[in-house]
Amino acid sequence: MRRGLRWRPHIPASLRTALAILLLLFIPSAGMTQTADLRPLVNALGAGGYNETDAAIQELARTGDPAVAGILEALGAGNLYTRKSDGEVFIASRASGGFALTDPLTGASAGEAASGAVERIRVNNRLRRTIRTAYGALTLLSPDAGMRRAATQSIFQSGDADSIPLLDEAIAAEKDGSILRLMREARAAAVLKSDLSDADKVEAIRTLSARGGRETLALIAPLAGAGGEVGAAATTAVSTIESNLALWDAGQNVWYGISLGSVLLLAAIGLAITFGVMGVINMAHGEMVMLGAYTTFVVQELIRAHAPWLFDWSLTIAVPLAFLVAALVGMAIERGVIQFLYGRPLETLLATWGISLILQQTVRTIFGPTNRQIGSPSWMSGSFELGQLTITYSRLWIVVFALAVFLLLILILRFTAFGLQMRAVTQNRPMASAMGIRTPWVDALTFGLGSGIAGIAGVALSQIDNVSPNLGQAYIIDSFMVVVFGGVGNLWGTLVGALTLGIANKFLEPYAGAVVGKILVLVFIILFIQKRPRGLFALKGRAVEA
């Protein structure tokens, strides 16, 4: 089941910087011949005031040399320094006692300099814009598609009328369809800021309107109030984009809802077995989740101390261990306490509450009352964009994981001998016993399975919640709500219940706030249980009265 969770390389967001540095490193092979011609131009960057630097930038950009992109990048970031003794310009980074210098054209090391020996080339906002435009121009025609894409994006955000001819040139040369579209959009954005004719602007608005998104809205919205043809077009575009965005927002809410729902599902699924299938009210269920989370903590501590290279695998290792720990504790509870209380649900409830207090206090005594830090493996950090949605990997994996656990459980119940025995005992205990099934043993195993799954849930929840002795308390009421709402004794009901409650919660949040949303959901469930006391998917027949 963990096979799905494999390491995936994650492309960092600051694509542009990385590529610029790469570019810089490859200059010697790319433009050796021009190095000599560029040198005076580069040195001119630090030769005078802002105006001179501005002119030098334009001059450099006109050469079209790819090396210039890296230099401009360094200039924008404030890493370009002039050596006072000879006026040579270097890329410098802080080293012990001074600066380490790098030749901007060759990328070779150029020794070190004391702090007083070099002076930073200062940039103001006007220069930054010049740099950006020049940089955009250089990169728009780059042979590297990623570079062109990033450059187009940059122009889209900050471009002005000056970038239009550049973009036109780039559009004519562009072969890649998706970048071409981006370039057209960037051009449209630039047109809006230019003083071109109204017809051009209306056309631009149309192009942008098709793009949608928040940044486009920010571009068009200022025009919407104005009169004339442009104003009208802008107004229409704004309303189109806004309704589009509302759809995406709804989509985002659904995603958050599914994400919350999968957390609920993970927490409730073990309860669905102990409560739903066995009819045992296990108030210590939340503590099984907590034990799972603390198992993860211990695993990570051990890995940090003894085998740091394994860290990316820590969660994978923790899952079976958490299952074992929680399942063993669960079986001990079943054999030690619950087996004497079958058929007395209210007493079971109280006894397991007592167990939960003891477990909490035990963990508090061992690990302390404060939150414990749990690290995330690299494949769980970061996020990616899907249209206007931002999806974090940790949430995505938890959704996948919850569904995987759910399916695995369904398969176990459906296709294994243990599952068959479990269902038999649930449906008719005396008859199952008469058929030779050792019912006490099945009870213990079932309870162990439910608890173990709670432990697995703890591994996942440790990634998104504070790991403290009170972790379980936060989930116990929600889990009961999910199981009761979905219908006792029905795992599919638990799935539907968890997702419904998750999505309902997230849809209520924007209107009512997080807390009121939660209260509304609780009130809704309380009312719902009045209407359908046995949940959404109620068992029918004799089993109901058991």
Binding site: L350, W353, I477, L522
Partner: protein, 395 residues
């Protein structure tokens, strides 16, 4: 007529309990106020406050014991009614502060001034009048219980389902009361009370009076429960506890019986909360914690379900143990103790202390034939281990 129904069912045990409670109500304040601290019988003020708190807990436990022990309704949300009564009292006390608050606003409590509110919310209107506040102390928990019970009992939500939704109820209230803009002081709650009915709330005399009021309220509550349990109505309640469907088929409107006793129990819990707040000097949303309500249930279980003395004894004993444990070096072990208590009571002492002792006494009496074995209809009914389950459903 009312006097008659109240005195019905007064046997030796009941008279003893009431006598003891009244004696405590009179003697403890007297010993506190009029004996010099050097006297061995002197009761220090902090003990008065402590026992006063226990007495209000006992009243809460009694209200839970009435519905759990005699009607089989296990409420995991009675702390909510307790806290609502407490908030009603707290609101009265807040209005009494007047211009003595930090901001000196004659109408608005400090936290509202702090939140920049201009007007008193409607919910707070009238709370400067003591009789109105008294009415609300009973009415608010009663009304919530009535509405909740009306829905729950009509649709036959029973057993653990009912327990879980009562827990959800108190949890929802907890979340609501934590919010600042809900208008009840947010997570700080209501505190810094000055006086009650014109008397300084910190004065030993006022505290003694509050103590006496708690003891008398407990005695009254006991008397009311007693008369309910020994009436025809009470017999039906026990029948519902033991065989709900059968009682329904016999023609009783089960839901109405449940609703009445449930609402009454909530009102009692509200009164307990109202007496609790002036004695501890604060009410905050923490009182709505589901854990508190479950703890109340264990007091009842320890003392003895199906008895009325049991919850009182259980509440005092467990809370005494809690105070003793949590103030000493043993504080970290209190939760182990409490947890162990939950398990031990359910496994080894299902009838609780009182139930077990009563069973022993009865056996002894039966063993000595010299004593005339006239059936005593007024003695405590045999404690039962909760609703009788269908033997086939049990293992």
């Amino acid at each position: 007529m009312i006097g008659h129904s109240l005195t019905r069912g007064l046997d030796r045990t009941a008279l003893l309990v009431i006598f003891l409670l009244l004696a405590v109500a009179v003697l403890v304040p007297l010993f506190n106020l009029y004996l010099p601290p050097s006297s061995p019988l002197h009761v220090p003020s902090y003990v008065v406050a402590l026992i006063g708190k226990y007495l209000t807990y006992a009243l809460l436990a009694l209200s839970v014991g009435l519905i759990w022990g005699y009607c089989g309704i296990l409420s995991l949300g009675h702390g909510a009614f307790f806290a609502l009564g407490g908030y009603a009292m707290g609101m009265y006390l807040m209005r009494q502060i007047g211009t003595r608050g930090v901001y000196g606003n004659p109408v608005l409590p400090d936290f509202m001034v702090f939140l920049n509110w201009q007007e008193l919310p409607v919910a707070w209107w009238g709370f400067q009048y003591f009789p109105y506040a008294m009415l609300m102390i009973v009415l608010v928990p009663g009304l919530l219980a009535f509405v909740f019970g009306w829905f729950a009992f009509r649709s036959r939500v029973t057993g653990v389902y009912l327990s879980i939704i009562t827990q959800a109820m108190t949890y929802a209230l907890l979340l609501a009361f934590f919010r600042n803009n809900f208008g009840f002081g947010g997570n700080n709650g209501l505190t810094d009370f000055k006086d009650i009915l014109g008397f300084n709330i910190q004065a030993p005399e006022t505290r003694a009076a509050l103590f006496a009021a708690s003891a008398v309220a407990l005695a009254l509550g006991y008397l009311i429960c007693r008369s309910i349990v020994y009436s025809r109505f009470g017999k039906v309640l026990v029948a519902i506890r033991d065989a709900e469907s059968r009682t329904r088929f016999l023609g009783y409107r089960v839901e109405n019986y449940k609703l009445v006793v449930w609402t009454l129990s909530a009102c009692m819990a509200g009164v307990a909360g109202a007496l609790y707040v002036p004695q501890v000097g604060i009410i905050n949303p923490g009182e709505f914690e589901p854990a508190n309500s479950i703890e109340t249930v264990v007091w009842v279980a320890v003392g003895g379900r199906g008895t009325l003395v049991g919850p009182i004894i259980g509440a005092v004993l467990v809370n005494f143990a809690k105070t003793w444990f949590t103030t000493g070096a043993l504080a970290p072990y209190w939760l182990f103790m409490l947890g162990g208590l939950f398990i031990a009571v359910t496994l080894f002492l299902p009838k609780g202390i009182v139930g077990t002792l009563a069973g022993l006494l009865r056996r002894e009496r039966r063993a000595s034939p010299s004593e005339a074995e006239a059936p005593t209809p007024n003695s405590e009914p045999p404690p039962s281990g909760g609703p009788v389950v269908n033997p086939s459903a049990a293992e």
